[in-house]
């Protein structure tokens, strides 16, 4: 007997929905095994990791706050990936947004009236767009691979931020800690409840907006055509270069917005580390959400849960919160693997007779 992958005539609609669920199930299974090898009761550990964070109001608010940047970045990346534009550098655009938006409180700590907040958000977005423009330009002008350029720029942004907060932007009254001034008053996003801030609303609004763009507008049509069939796209009169630029500006802008939202709320100032890898995790969010902006909302919540679970595991089980990264990696692996079944199915075949010469007579 022989296992073969057989191409389906059409994409399977049910696998399209089942594949992420299957991936989640397999991730939980492998996660359970990991806990078992650490000498923990896998069921209890999985409960602490995945269920307990949902049992208090406070932790649900935390979940929304952590999901906000993931969703905001994830929807932008979804649009990119639909168009076959591979922006891997959202983490860098996130950082660039934080730096550009953070300029206002750093240079004008006394600027304490309503306009500073929209200005910060606007600059955050512009910063992300400018940073996204670089790989787009390099790709269109020189044919440079955007996966490499956008990824490398992540480290440039991270080190720039590091240098800024250790050097020129360091808070003069901060006891030499590598931190900028603390953002205050109008420089902080308004919150609802205790911790849920405006960024959550922005993230959901962005997802809804992009779902509309993709389905109902000619721009969305252009993105989908060029992503699935570049030749047909150029026959329709659409420009590949223009879409590469559009996607990078859009996803860069949204990542930048997520960056400034994060430093203007949870973090509250610029410091060497402002993100637990949201820009990279958002790649998983985009794929888990089927590159569908509405799906990304749910995927963002699930990945946010993995961060919460990591913290819970550290506190309650005494294992490193790096376990969150392990879970995220396993999840992406299984999503990509399970996606194979959308266009293929597994079949058991009787082994073919060995291919060889068969002289007759």
């Amino acid at each position: 007997m022989q296992l073969v992958l057989e191409r389906r005539p059409e994409r399977s609609k049910s696998m399209l929905l089942l594949s992420p669920l299957l991936a989640l199930l397999l991730t939980a299974l492998v996660g359970g095994l990991i806990f078992l090898f650490r000498g923990l009761n896998p069921l209890a550990a999985l409960y602490i990791y995945f269920v307990e964070p949902l049992t208090t109001l406070w932790s649900i608010e935390q979940l929304l706050v952590k999901a906000a940047p993931l969703i905001l970045i994830g929807v932008g990346l979804s649009i990119c990936y639909i168009a076959n534009v591979w922006n891997i550098g959202a983490e860098g655009q996130f950082t660039a947004g934080a730096i550009f938006g953070g300029m206002w409180p750093v240079f004008f700590p006394e600027f304490q009236s309503f306009p500073v907040l929209p200005l910060m958000l606007l600059f955050g977005m512009l910063g992300g767009m400018l940073y996204g423009f670089i790989p787009a330009f390099l790709k269109n002008r020189f044919g440079a691979n955007e996966i490499l350029t956008s990824l490398m720029l992540v480290y440039v942004a991270g080190l720039s931020l590091d240098w800024l907060v250790r050097g020129p932007w360091r808070d003069p009254h901060g006891y030499n800690f590598p931190k900028s001034v603390t953002f205050e008053g109008w420089q902080i996003l308004p919150t609802m409840g205790t911790t849920v801030h405006l960024g959550v609303v922005i993230a959901v609004a962005a997802a809804l907006g992009l779902a509309f763009l993709l389905d109902r507008t000619i721009k969305g049509f252009e993105i989908r055509v060029l992503g699935s069939s570049p030749r047909a796209g150029s026959f329709a009169g659409f420009s590949r270069d223009r879409i590469v630029l559009f996607c990078f500006l859009l996803s860069g802008g949204l990542a930048g917005l997520a960056g400034i939202c994060e430093v203007a709320s949870t973090v509250g100032q610029l410091q060497p580390s402002i993100s637990p890898g949201y820009g990279f995790t958002a790649i998983i969010v985009a794929f888990l959400g089927r590159l569908n902006p509405l799906g990304v909302i749910f995927a963002g919540l699930i990945l946010a849960l993995s961060y919460m679970g990591g913290e819970a595991a550290q506190v309650t089980l005494g294992i490193s919160d790096k376990i969150a990264k392990v879970f995220q990696g396993i999840l992406l692996f299984f999503i990509l693997a399970c996606d194979t079944f959308i266009l293929y199915r597994l079949r058991l075949l009787p082994r073919r007779p060995a291919a060889e010469l068969q002289p007759a007579e």
Binding site: R216, T217, S228, R231, G237, E356
Partner: protein
Amino acid sequence: MAGSAKGSEMPSGSKKSKKQAPPKYLLEAINIDKNFGDLKANDQVSLRIEPGEIHALLGENGAGKSTLVKIIYGSLQPTSGEIRWMGRPVSISNPAVARKLGIGMVFQHFSLFEALTVAENIALAMPGDFDMQKLSQTIGRVSKTYGLPLNPDATVGDLSVGERQRIEIVRCLLQQPKLLIMDEPTAVLTPQEADQLFLTLRRLAKEGCAILYISHRLQEVKDLCHRATILRHGKVVAEADPRTETAASLARMMVGADIKVVRPAKARAGGKVKLAINRLGQPALGPFSVALHDIFLEVHEGELVAIAGVAGNGQAELFDALSGERTNPRSDAIVINGTKAGHLGVGARRKLGAAFVPEERLGHGAVANFVLSENVVLTRHNVEAGLIRSGLLDLTKAADVSARVSKDFDVRKPRPDPEARSLSGGNLQKFVVGREMDRRPSILLVNQPTWGVDAGASALIRQALVDLARQGSAVLVISQDLDEIFEIADRIAVLSRGELSPAYPASELTYEAVGLLMAGAHEKTKSSKGERHAISA
């Protein structure tokens, strides 16, 4: 039919006893059938190759040449029929088996790693272990013996197309084949490189290696080959000795003059020029692309002009240049309805009243995973009022258009608005042609309007093209199907190696004349010597 095809000399195969040695034929393919669904790609095809002969396999695109060759090389299995190798029936289940028997093949498109050296590329194809040092020496020796100069240590990326082909040939020769299959080897070569190749092939044949030579360059076949098997519509229509035939008689066998339908031109003379192509030229984009030279053509209102020619002579490039998918720095190279349009993109040219139907239906003319109404938007988004309103799609409107096209052109589909890929080839082609016709374009360009389409759909599409022209539009059709061209065209021009002949009234042309033009009789630039001979043949 003059210049008789020697179809009757085909032996029936059963006369020969299997025990008799040595066998007369190296390879016999007997009554091969190969069906793809309803399509009979090979229909009772028989082919016999003697040791040491250069045997041509002739036929238009789609005649079943590559299917037959793939069966011989083991990459396809016949639906029925028998293959004998040196008199013994064999089953060639995959290319490795074919190579083990002694069959080598040089493909039209090479499979080489550009970053590796010549020797490394060859080593990759060798079965079992090898000694790099010794292999390099062997390569040097073989390439010298057969006049295929190659430096084993050169990096493939630095080599010309001709040199790359030599690697593929040497790679085959190292396995000491008894039969070498060459698929359109001169398609990518300069005339000098082609001459060099012929020397090598003749030498190989003299040493007893048979060569199955696939080509549609008739003069070449006449010069080089000892025998020819000619395929049309999946059947063997003739076996001939090309040395005693003329290029014209070979062309006639290839395209089949017996189904000729000449249609009296009904076009009004002296209409306005709607589409003018003035000295259009452009360089080739890569080794498998064809440069266009100095193309001149005017298409008048009410007229249907057809461009004949064998595939790969610049049809795709001409289509892209006319549609605007590749723009031209000279704006007056293409004039659409009186407006200079050479520099304009495809959208702007559509706005001037032109419409285009490319050869490739899925992936070019339509997006496979989009539903039909979305595919309406694909080519009509900037020419159709109301389809897009302030950036928003009106999909109900698009669905209306899709329904109208489906009704007018009899597009049969499983659901009201299915994905394009779920339609059969003929139905999708009717949709893609109908989508453009529905606009009532004043200029319509169609590349291969009935390629791979069943007879009923073909007739419908051809009639629609003629009707559109009679209503006053200018219609330009690029086609390889001479029957189709003679059926619908008012004037005919022929494209060969990127050069376009003048357009002659269809009533003044014969199949022979078109066949000669297809072989390059009109070419002005320095072509291969062989092709120049075609004029006098």
